[in-house]
């Protein structure tokens, strides 16, 4: 015994490589050291080269006045504000296009995905052609195409198309009246949140009630009615505390109201349509992945067709759909940086574009832009992973 113990205590250098246990650790240390060295090399190199170029590294430029204007801003902004604020304006614009695009793409994608499975030969072929065409034309081309179509075919503001007073469509954008809220509008907001709270409580009670008695309430329709109805009733009771600011043609352009600019519309359509083709295929594969036996079994139990879809097919299909859907959301968000091609002022156009150019802080601006995109992507990823876990098959 003693001899054996002595043997394993005696440590030779060769063991580091030839002994399996040590080798695993040594390899890991080597890899980590290599990565660290590589990162350090890049950092040192960057610092040296910046020095050689006579450039300083720092983020103080963010607090200097930006001196440029941005046409679409959801927060107050003018050319006297800082580069930081210009970056925030761009970030909000990126967020707007990403959220709007994801929603629209999902709706379109689900519709086309279901139509793709239609037993009607004509519909199913048309959708097939649509998907193949859209998927195989580069998204940048589609963005430029939509933008070109909008600015070239729509009339100038003076000959704007109009449906009724206050709604105008021209090559400067789609103008609609802007709601201006009065103080009493708070009642409507309160009613809205009260309705949501009520619905949550009602659903819980309905579920318990169903488990206890088997009696089923139309939870979905009641929820919708409450969430929409209650604020509407409150709105009228409060004496309609909302006025409309209609756009009107003054000088060169429409003034007042709200506007969807051609750049936003083109980008929104192009990204949504492009992504929807991929989502349609994902939805189709998801639905097809649920074996037909499931539907048949449900029918055999006497469950109604729309319930079969809602309670049996869709929950199982979602498990297949959600992970690739996440990638599509990430793609859409990252593709939104192509906004620069048509002059939509997103994050890349403001902080990564004009600010970078006017201040000459390439490294700093690019670092910020990269980090922000990374955080957005990781956030979407985290949310979708949470949702995926939630809908995952719970095994008992």
């Amino acid at each position: 015994m003693a001899a054996i113990e002595q043997d394993s205590d005696r440590f030779s250098l060769g063991q580091l490589w030839f002994d399996k246990r040590y080798r695993a650790v040594v390899m890991q240390i080597l890899v980590v050291a290599g990565v660290c060295l590589f990162v350090a090399y890049i950092a040192v190199n960057a610092v040296q080269n910046l020095e050689a170029l006579g450039k300083t590294f720092g983020f103080n430029f963010l607090w200097a006045p930006s001196s440029y204007d941005i046409n679409q801003s959801l927060i107050a902004y003018n050319s006297r504000d800082t580069h930081f604020r210009a970056g925030v304006v761009g970030l909000i614009n990126t967020g707007l296009i990403a959220v709007g695009g994801c929603i629209f793409a999902t709706i379109l994608g689900f519709i086309f995905g279901v139509l793709r499975l239609s037993s009607n030969w004509l519909i199913n072929r048309i959708v097939y052609c649509y998907i193949e065409f859209i998927r195989n034309v580069p998204v940048l081309v589609q963005i430029l195409l939509w933008h070109g179509v909008i600015i070239s075919t729509l009339p100038s503001p003076r000959q704007a198309l109009t449906a009724t007073e206050g709604i105008y469509l021209s090559n400067r954008g789609f103008y609609v009246p802007a709601p201006i809220v009065e103080d009493a509008f708070i009642v409507v907001v309160i009613a809205f949140f009260a309705a949501i709270a009520g619905v949550v409580a009602f659903r819980r009670w309905a579920k318990k009630h169903q488990e206890a008695t088997g009696q089923i309430y139309p939870v979905l329709s009641i929820s919708f009615a409450a969430i929409i109805g209650l604020p509407v009733i409150a709105f009228f009771l409060a004496g309609m505390p909302l006025t409309l600011d209609a756009p009107e043609l003054r000088g060169f352009n429409f003034q007042g109201g709200m506007v969807l600019r051609p750049e936003f519309t083109a980008l929104w359509f192009a990204l949504s349509v492009y992504t929807s083709a991929f989502i349609a295929e994902i939805v189709r594969s998801g639905i097809q992945a649920v074996s037909h036996g499931q539907t048949e079994a449900a029918f055999a139990l006497g469950i109604r067709p729309n319930w079969t879809m809602r309670l049996i097919v869709i929950p199982q299909a979602l498990r297949v759909i959600v992970p690739p859907l996440t990638s599509q959301y990430l793609n859409l968000t990252k593709n939104s940086s192509l906004a620069i091609a048509i002059g939509y002022m997103d994050l890349v156009a403001t902080l990564g574009g004009i600010t970078l150019n006017q201040t000459g802080k390439e490294m700093e601006c690019m670092m910020i832009v990269l980090l922000i995109y990374l955080s957005i992507s990781l956030t979407i990823s985290a949310f979708m992973n949470w949702y995926n876990r939630r809908i995952a098959l719970v095994e008992r």
């Binding site: 006579g54 046409n71 600015i151 090559n171 003054r250 000088g251 156009a349 990564g352 150019n357 490294m363």
Partner: protein
């Protein structure tokens, strides 16, 4: 895609970078055998590709003069088209040796961005162009207009200041290149296009009906346009600076590409003799041979010749010399003596 380019050049600064630190651009240029010249993506008259696909124009002429001075052959230039946004990164990263691209000389670009402007080859100012049909006669009437503007330029900053100080509102329509501006402006996406007045004249010349568009009288800024190089290599900056000065001086002394052979035999004027290398040894002081000035004038021409060839009153661009005339003729063009 320009975004990609910015990213690539940014990473080039990080990883390779060495080119940016080059102490002796002249040696690099000599060893690779050509001058890498950053030009715009195309402004009629100022920089454009001819039928054979070669870059020509008022701005490339500066690079051709540098090549003539260094190699004795004005064709030893390779061109990199840059947009208003990518140009500085291209120069800073060492992708180009000279930037000759209607770029405004400003303090921050000269210092903070780490470049050296070597002179001015066109004194310009920012103007506005609008369709005649709009009935606008002054820039002060532009309240509420949509304005097409090239991003990453000084004009973008002037525009913001002009409208703010005049207490007017406007919708900026940001675009990347002159060509894009043309498309948007003609499609009616914007009411007005603003850039350097020379650029407006150049763009208007290419419209189907130039007479339908009017350039408003207001000039809202000073835009001295000139070639620039990276800061920190004085020898290279000197070569570019004096290549430009040689062209301006040649016009002042009356040396043209036609009479340069005659004059190179020796004249009574020592200024001309020093320019053409028959007196003194000016070339050696810059690390060039003594025929540098002769080669520039012989192969590229003097300032006036280049001006008239590409943008002068006889061309479709039709620019007058105006303040870009020699100081003797009432302009402000005044090159230091070659001595």
């Amino acid at each position: 895609m320009s975004t990609l380019k910015v990213l690539l050049t940014a990473s080039a600064v990080t990883v390779v970078g060495a080119a940016g630190a080059s102490a002796a651009t002249l040696d690099d240029v000599k060893s690779k055998g050509f001058v890498q010249c950053g030009v715009s993506t195309g402004v009629p008259g100022f920089s454009f590709t001819d039928d054979a696909g070669n870059w020509q124009g008022f701005d490339p002429a500066v690079c051709q003069a540098v090549a003539a001075a260094v190699f004795g052959d004005s064709s030893k230039v390779k061109y990199t088209p840059t947009t208003g946004k990518t140009r500085f990164t291209a120069l800073a990263s060492g992708e180009v040796d000279v930037l000759a691209r209607n770029t405004t000389w400003t303090l921050s670009r000269d210092t903070d961005l780490g470049f050296t402007f070597v002179g001015v080859n066109y004194y310009d100012g920012q103007g506005f162009m609008a369709p005649k049909a709009l009935g606008v006669s002054s820039a002060k009437e532009l309240d509420g207009a949509s304005v097409c503007i090239q991003t990453g330029t000084t004009t973008e900053l002037n525009l913001a200041d002009f409208f703010r100080v005049s207490n007017m509102s406007y919708e900026p329509v940001p675009i990347e290149t002159n060509e894009e501006a043309r498309t948007n402006y003609l499609a009616g996406r914007c009411d007005v296009y603003t850039t350097d007045a020379s650029g407006l004249a150049a763009s208007r010349a290419t419209f189907d009906n130039p007479a339908d568009h009017v350039i408003l009288p207001e000039i809202i800024s000073k835009e001295p346009l000139g070639p620039l190089v990276r800061q920190g290599d004085d020898q290279w900056a000197d070569i570019v600076r004096w290549s430009l000065n040689a062209m301006i001086n040649a016009e002042e002394y009356g040396v043209t590409s036609e009479n340069v052979d005659e004059m190179a035999k020796g004249t009574d004027n020592p200024d001309v003799n020093r320019l053409l290398g028959t007196e003194g040894d000016m070339g050696a002081m810059m690390g060039l041979d003594s025929k540098w000035g002769y080669n520039i004038i012989k192969q590229v021409g003097n300032y006036g010749e280049v001006f008239e060839q590409f943008i002068g009153s006889a061309t479709p661009i039709g620019l007058e010399r105006g303040i870009n005339a020699q100081y003797k003729d009432g302009g402000i063009l005044y090159a230091p003596p070659i001595r």
